[in-house]
Each structure stands twice: as C-alpha cells, then as structure tokens.
Symmetry: C2
Subunit: 152 residues, 2 copies
C-alpha cells in the first residue's frame, strides 16, 4: 500500500552514488551530457561496466536510460545526487576551515568518506559552520530541510 513512492528508502552502493554525483555535475552544473565513454574514462572502468551500472540506476528510477542514447538523472536521481553532494561539500568545508586543508585535498578526503557519513553528522557540521551555502570551490551546498538554523 504505497501512498507515496518517493518516500521509499533508496539504497545506493558506493559506485552508484559516485555515478549519480558525476552525472549531476555534468548534467545540471555543466549542462554537458555524460556519455558511457565519459563515465568509463572518468572511473577507469570498461564501458560495459558503465552500462551495467546505468541499468541498475534505471531500475531504481534514478536515471532515465535509453539504449545507445544515454542516461539522464530523474527527479529522484537529482535529489539523491544533491544529498550526496551536500555531504561531500559540507565535509570539504570542515576540512578547509578546521584543518586548513587546501580545496583539492579536502575534496579527496571527503570523497573517501562522504558516502558513509550519516545525515545527522553532516547536519551537525553544517550547523557548526553556520549553514554554509558554498563549498571551498564555490559550488552550491544544497539545504536539507531537517537541518534547521538556530534562532538568531
């Protein structure tokens, strides 16, 4: 009895998440298409592997996938990508502000753990740094409705 399919918990593997954020950056932030080859080169895997992963993402309704044409993030895909990018970028803020990392190292370190960080942890960091709206390289940090600003 699913009233609202959007509320069904989506579970993403590590790589699926990486594909989603990669596609988001291309599709939404750079307005370029992410082809199979682009993804394959970027992740240093065989194109066949990319196809497989895109099909899995399609099954989860996170991308619209058409054979030979390519894949585009769905609305849900965009939401999931934004959640992941939020984690990634909040971590970058932490590493730069607290630890004085340069933007590049911050990105590398964030990439290692972003997938595993809970929303609670990210929101706590977000609060501590007063809900930053950009990461160290000026990209947008998406809001999480459950991450409330204090009264001041």
């Amino acid at each position: 009895m699913w009233r609202c399919s959007l509320s069904v918990k989506i579970s993403l593997t590590l790589k699926e998440g990486k594909y989603l954020t990669f596609m988001y950056r291309r599709q939404v932030e750079e307005d370029k298409r992410a082809t199979t080859t682009t993804l394959a080169k970027s992740f240093k895997v065989n194109p066949a592997t990319v196809t497989e992963t895109l099909q899995k993402l399609a099954k989860k309704k996170l991308v619209d996938y058409t054979r030979y044409y390519g894949a585009k993030l769905t609305e849900r895909g965009i939401i999931e990508a934004q959640k992941l990018l939020r984690k990634h970028r909040i971590l970058e803020v932490l590493f730069v502000k607290l630890l004085n990392f340069d933007a590049e190292s911050a990105c590398e370190e964030a990439a290692k753990i972003d997938h595993y960080c809970s929303v609670d942890l990210i929101n706590a960091i977000c609060q501590t740094y007063e809900h930053p709206d950009t990461c160290p390289c000026s990209k947008k940090i998406f809001r999480d409705p459950t991450c409330i600003k204090g009264w001041c």
Copy 2:
C-alpha cells in the same frame, strides 16, 4: 626481496578491522578472551562466519589461531588494532569537541567512517586538537609517529 616483512602493506576489509578492534578491547584492555561465540553474538553473525574471518586474519598473521582454542592478536594484529582505534578515537574527540555530540553518538558516528579515513586526515584532526591522549570515554589514543607535535 622482502627485507622487513613488517613493512608489507596490510589490507584489511571492514569486518576484519572490526574484529581486530573488538579483540583488542577484550584481550588488551579488558584482559578477557574473545571466544567465537562472543564475537558471533557481538556482530550478530553465525559462529561459522566468525571462524572464517579468524582464519583469514590468521592467514594475514594478525592473529594466532588454534582450532577450538581461540585466537589471540599477534604483535602485528595489535599494531593494526591500535591504528584503527586511534582513528576511531580521534574522530570521537572531533565529534564531541566540535559538534557537542555525547560520547555514545560520537562512537556510533565514528564507527561508520573510521575504516575509510586516511591517516593524513586523522593526523590533521589530531594536531588541531593538540594530540589528545584520551577519547571522550577516557580510553587511550595511540600515538602515530608521523603525527608530529608543533614546536611550542
């Protein structure tokens, strides 16, 4: 041409790491034996799974394993466990000091990511908090020789 077998890079899976730290706490910090059943209950897995994992750890020379008797961390096992516990506890310090987490939440959040954090990241946090020697619940934080205190 291995001159020093201790320098061979050890790669641990997530679960292997969890077993190692669990065993460390029991063996070194509490001086109790970690039996197969103890591990199985603690990780909520079948005893057969524990045996399997202990055998893998034995193959990596991280535990001394004797059928039916049990397993004990080797010197290398102790070192690896300490490295992991260092990561875990430094993260706890961060979460408690920066984010005002209580010790228990800090532990939970740390457990989700400790395995994936680089030594560089942990050392940077360690420096920022002036090389703490205990975690929020007063357990020892092991030193990393590459994590140098500043001149002051």
